[in-house]
Amino acid sequence: MRITRRGFVVLMLLVVAFPYAWVVLASFKGPEALNDPSTLTFTPTLDNWRGVIDGGVLDSALTSVIVGVVTVAIAVVFGTLGAYAISRFGTGGPGTRFGILLSELMPPAVLVVPLFLVAFNLNLRDTVIAIIASHLTFVLPVVTWFMIGFFDAVPKEFEDQAMVDGYGRFGAFRRVVLPQVLPGIGAAAIFAFVLSWNDLFYALILAGGNTATLPVKIASYNTFRGVELGTMCAAILVSVVPVLIACFFVQRRLVRGISGGGLKY
């Protein structure tokens, strides 16, 4: 039993690690070595990395960071307040929770056509604002939904006591309830950032030009002229490495945060 279990975990680790290893190798390979995919002996070159940096991948990474941070900041502020109302006062009736879930599952294809036309008419095409607005359509409901669960887990007595002690409703919320859900906010914010960081669909349609986000940039290496395989692998790593490092540090918090309330419905 134990052996099987270990074998299974090791196998899964290999399945996960193999593509990474291949991409890392390919990003250091010259054109010749790339034609022989399984070779492990080759002269490493930094040409791909130089190419990808010269191609402006760092600008795209910066665009992605700006979009992600602003989107998450807006979603956390609006979502937390709304979630508190839904959790504590049942604002809007029992349908609200379902409504929040519903707006999360709107396929992007439904919203993208109007968003495109509005952005076009307001001259906002190819700007960060258009991407942020489109990312809020899926980030905001997710954050709200997570936060409802976290607020549900805070005992009501806490704020009743705080109000007896002389805090107003908002004071009780800010000083007593908010600190309780802070780890939850952290987990939701990380999750939301990853969603925004990974989006290709909206970013491709609303801003394919000068304000290309990282996924759009990566997709652009896959052209009809043929694929610049080595450069593309380097670009993939630019997007993967920071996220993997972050993932390593937050994984524990994420498991705990989600079991703390995000799973309730």
């Binding site: 680790l13 291949w22 396929p107 056509v113 036309l117 290709l200 990566i218 997709a219």
Partner: protein, 281 residues
């Protein structure tokens, strides 16, 4: 009282989700196109022509097959992995962190990674297999859709693991101790205790993953672009092409709304089932 906290969220949601939704519904009733000047109201014509559009039917079928198989595989593998990880003691954090990484990688990067890993000429996997005397065309007509499902499984099984692991670790301990005292086998404990207690978490995980899987776009965009033929055409890709390749916005909107209807029916059934169970326990 609650409305004061709720109002900002509501206003924002109406602006970015509500308004586009209504606008999109209106568009689906017109023949709006970027390349044509005049737009006229055509009623349900767009929807009617979709019924006879065999490409759309194929795309819908592909999408549904994709969602069903991908989510089922992810659930089974994810559950097995979550159970194994829960019992693991050594190198716990490193193993978990590494196994969870795929869900954090940009899907387009995952798609491109596998496109070249599995490529006939340039790919490492076909080359290794051919040394063993096996030739497989991963993106051929019969295997393209299963390959794309496998890519989804690689990326999103970790998401299942994350949710199920969180669920497992928050289960009460007493039933398991009682089962151990009674000498129940591992399988019995799993069937009779773990699974029933975990059901709400499984339902949520399947719901979230299923909804997300309907939006599949990047893998197909990166690998086959819908081919060979229309073997891997999915709804999201077809809408992208109709709306922003051919600029037929009205038709694209109608396609999207049919998808919404399909998703809504599925979700409502699942949500009802969940609420029913919640009431029963």
């Amino acid at each position: 009282m609650g409305w004061r906290f709720m109002a900002p969220l509501l206003v924002l949601l109406v602006a970015i989700v509500g308004y586009p939704l209504v606008y999109s519904l209106y568009l689906s009733l017109t023949n709006r196109s970027i390349v044509r000047q005049d737009t006229s109201f055509v009623g349900l014509d767009q929807y009617q022509s979709l019924i006879h559009n065999s490409d759309y039917g194929a795309a819908m079928r592909n999408t549904i097959v994709f969602v069903l198989f991908a989510v089922a595989l992810e659930l089974v593998i994810g559950l097995a992995l979550a159970l194994a990880l829960q019992k693991q003691r050594r190198a716990r954090d490193v193993t978990r962190a590494l196994l969870l990484t795929p869900m954090f990688v940009t899907p387009i990067a995952v798609g491109l990674m596998f496109r070249f890993l599995l490529n006939q000429q340039l790919g490492a996997i076909p080359q290794i297999l051919s040394q063993l005397g096996i030739t497989i065309d991963f993106f051929g007509p019969s295997l393209a859709l299963p390959t794309i499902i496998a890519i989804d499984v690689w990326q999103w099984t970790p998401f299942m693991v994350l949710l199920l692991l969180a669920g497992l670790e928050s289960l009460p301990r007493q039933p398991f101790e009682a089962a151990r005292v009674d000498g129940a086998s591992t399988w019995m404990t799993f069937r009779r205790i773990t699974l029933p207690l975990l059901k709400p978490v499984i339902a949520i995980a399947v719901l979230l993953r299923g909804l997300d899987a309907f939006k599949v776009f990047e893998y197909v965009f990166a690998t086959t672009n819908g081919g060979p033929g229309n073997a891997t055409e999915t709804i999201q890709l077809m809408i992208y092409r109709t709306g922003f390749g051919f600029f037929r916005l009205g038709e694209a909107a109608a396609m999207a709304f049919v998808l919404v209807a399909v998703v809504l029916v599925g979700v409502t059934l699942l949500y009802r089932g969940m609420m029913h169970q919640k009431g029963a326990t």
